[in-house]
């Protein structure tokens, strides 16, 4: 693990070992919060920051912590990080903080964070751990944002609604109404919509992976046929 290359780490976090699509970790906030694009982005950034900081700290102290007590120590690190992020969000993005509510403090219990601390950060150098946190966080954010956009478009017919919560007043008119007079498709906004949507996204990822895996085989078979 120690000699993993940076492109490899990035590929793992964003695609091959994506926390939401492959590891299926942290699904509770993922499913609960992604009712809109902006909500998904907010939680995604908060989770990414937590991952980067906790991964870096865990990697930095990995030689000081005795293996017997490592899990409680990781939990302490993650909890402190989340507390700092929660208080900062409360101060600077108060309205978004109110919408995301309990799911910001609950980042502590997001399994993918302690999973990365245990599986990667505690065994790798600081820079690799930092990169891994960033890649995993971005991979998670990408899924949150995709699912959020999907549910917002189908459920409400809009996109980027309430962008001012995140980007300040100049983003107040970013909201796109994609379908005029849309009646709303309530199922997409309700929890079942999140499960169905995530299932479909995972299915699409698997289809892409299968197509990719099949391609070299076809090439070989083609050569064999012409030979």
């Amino acid at each position: 693990m120690t000699d993993t290359s940076y492109p490899e780490i990035a590929r793992n976090g964003l695609w091959n070992n994506n926390p939401a699509l492959v590891q299926l970790l942290g699904l509770c906030p993922l499913l609960a919060v992604t009712t809109t694009f902006i909500n998904g982005l907010g939680l995604g950034i908060a989770t990414t920051l937590t991952l980067i900081i906790s991964n870096s700290v865990v990697s930095a102290i990995r030689k000081l912590v005795r293996p017997e007590v490592r899990i409680p120590v990781f939990v302490l690190v993650i909890a402190s990080t989340v507390t700092v992020i929660e208080i900062s969000m409360n101060a600077w993005f108060h309205d978004l903080y109110l919408i995301l509510g309990i799911f910001i403090p609950l980042i502590v219990t997001n399994c993918s964070i302690i999973g990365r601390a245990e599986a990667f950060a505690s065994k790798n150098r600081l820079r690799a751990a930092f990169t891994d946190g960033l890649a995993m966080g971005l991979g998670f954010t990408a899924v949150l944002v995709t699912l959020g956009a999907l549910r917002e478009i189908i459920g409400k017919g809009t996109l980027f609604a309430q962008a001012h919560l995140m980007f300040g007043e100049f983003a107040a008119n970013w909201s796109l109404t994609l379908v005029e007079d849309y009646r709303g498709f309530l199922l997409a906004v309700l929890p079942p919509g999140a499960f169905i949507g995530l299932g479909l996204i995972i299915a699409v990822k698997n289809i892409i992976d299968q197509r990719r895996a099949r391609r070299p085989v076809h090439a070989v078979a083609g050569e064999a046929a012409t030979a």
């Binding site: 009646r183 709303g184 498709f185 309530l186 199922l187 309700l190 169905i196």
Partner: protein, 348 residues
């Protein structure tokens, strides 16, 4: 001629049954015709328009999904299971629904609830009821706009008028949406009880008819007739309908005996809403229902009791769809604990 003498022997069993899936499904569809005709007679052309739209959507979606899944399209479509799903879905929809209601319901039923789980035989939930529930929780306004029975309606829409309403959302001049909608008997009871009226006062309204609501009692009778024919032919076993109707009847009788001003009579419950359709046609879906004799009885009784609970105290006027889906979830457990004893096996 010795060489032409043949003595053919076959191994047992010797009876070849003429039943296969297609025949079974077509039998069930045929059995639903009396109820369908009654619904058409009392609630107008919308019933048949819903049916046509649902049929087209379900069969189209089934064919598309089978192609995507690289399964035989023609042979699978011939089993009629998609058409039956469409029929059951259409029978539960409000007669004056806009065109996209049966279309979205049919798509969800076939694509999500049936084919994504692996097609006929693999779906844990009743596809038609999944489609119905998706529609009910997503579009409450359209789904509760129920039509009045024709004789009680202020205006009677012709086939062309109903088509225009379904496809374009336009009504003949001078007609409002109120003129083509009326709360169902079950819905009326729910809202009027909330206003503090007693059942005797509520049921004086002409829409309550003789037993289960004007029009509704005949629709239910139609499905009872079809269900009886299915029982006679052996297409369905008696345990599930008996369980559903028994559970509903016993619950209704208990509460009716305690307080007949708040709780409607058992007969009203049996002949109102989707009781008969649910008991004979929906709960008996061979794929998503329990498969053991005792299990079927339990499964049916659970549905009957849940229907009563949702009708009496739930947020929705009728609860057949929710009851069926909830009991679908319980089927693996029920089947596990009710496996019949194999002959010779020790009793535990």
């Amino acid at each position: 001629m010795t060489e032409t003498m043949e003595f053919r022997t076959y191994s047992s069993p010797h009876l070849s049954g003429p039943s296969h899936v297609g025949r079974l499904m077509r039998g069930v569809m045929l059995a639903a015709v009396p109820g369908l005709l009654m619904a058409w007679w009392f609630f107008g052309w919308g019933v048949l328009i819903n049916l046509m739209l649902a049929l087209a959507t379900c069969i189209g979606a089934e064919a598309a999904m089978l192609r995507l899944r690289r399964r035989p399209v023609r042979a699978t479509l011939a089993d009629g299971s998609a058409a039956l799903t469409a029929l059951l879905l259409a029978l539960t929809l409000p007669p004056f629904a806009p065109w996209w209601i049966p279309v979205i319901g049919g798509l969800f039923a076939i694509v999500i609830a049936k084919q994504l789980y692996g097609g006929l035989g693999y779906n844990p939930f009743n596809p038609a009821m999944v489609g119905y529930v998706v529609l009910l929780i997503s579009f409450p306004r359209e789904m509760t706009l129920w039509a009045p029975p024709q004789a009680l309606a202020e205006v009677q829409l012709s086939l062309v008028d109903t088509l225009a309403w379904s496809l374009l959302g336009t009504l003949p001049a001078g007609t409002g949406v109120d003129a083509i909608s009326m709360a169902t008997p079950l819905d009326t009871i729910k809202t009027q009880l909330g206003l503090g009226l007693t059942l005797t006062e509520i049921q004086a309204d002409p829409r309550f008819g003789d037993i289960g609501g004007y029009g509704w009692e005949w629709v239910n009778l139609g499905f009872l007739l079809g269900g009886g024919w299915l029982l006679y032919r052996g297409t369905i076993q008696w345990q599930i309908p008996a369980g559903v109707l028994g559970g509903l009847f016993v619950m209704a009788l208990l509460f009716y005996a305690v307080d007949s001003d708040t709780y409607a009579s058992p007969l009203f419950h049996l002949f109102s809403g989707a009781a008969m359709l649910g008991a004979f046609f929906i709960a008996t879906d061979p794929v998503s229902a329990s498969t053991t004799p005792r299990g079927r009885l339990l499964y049916g009784a659970g549905i009957g009791i849940l229907i009563y609970i949702i009708r009496a105290w739930g947020g929705y006027p009728d609860g057949v769809a929710f009851a069926v889906l909830l009991m679908n979830m319980a089927v693996p457990t029920i089947d596990y604990y009710t496996q019949p004893r194999v002959y010779g096996q020790e009793r535990k």
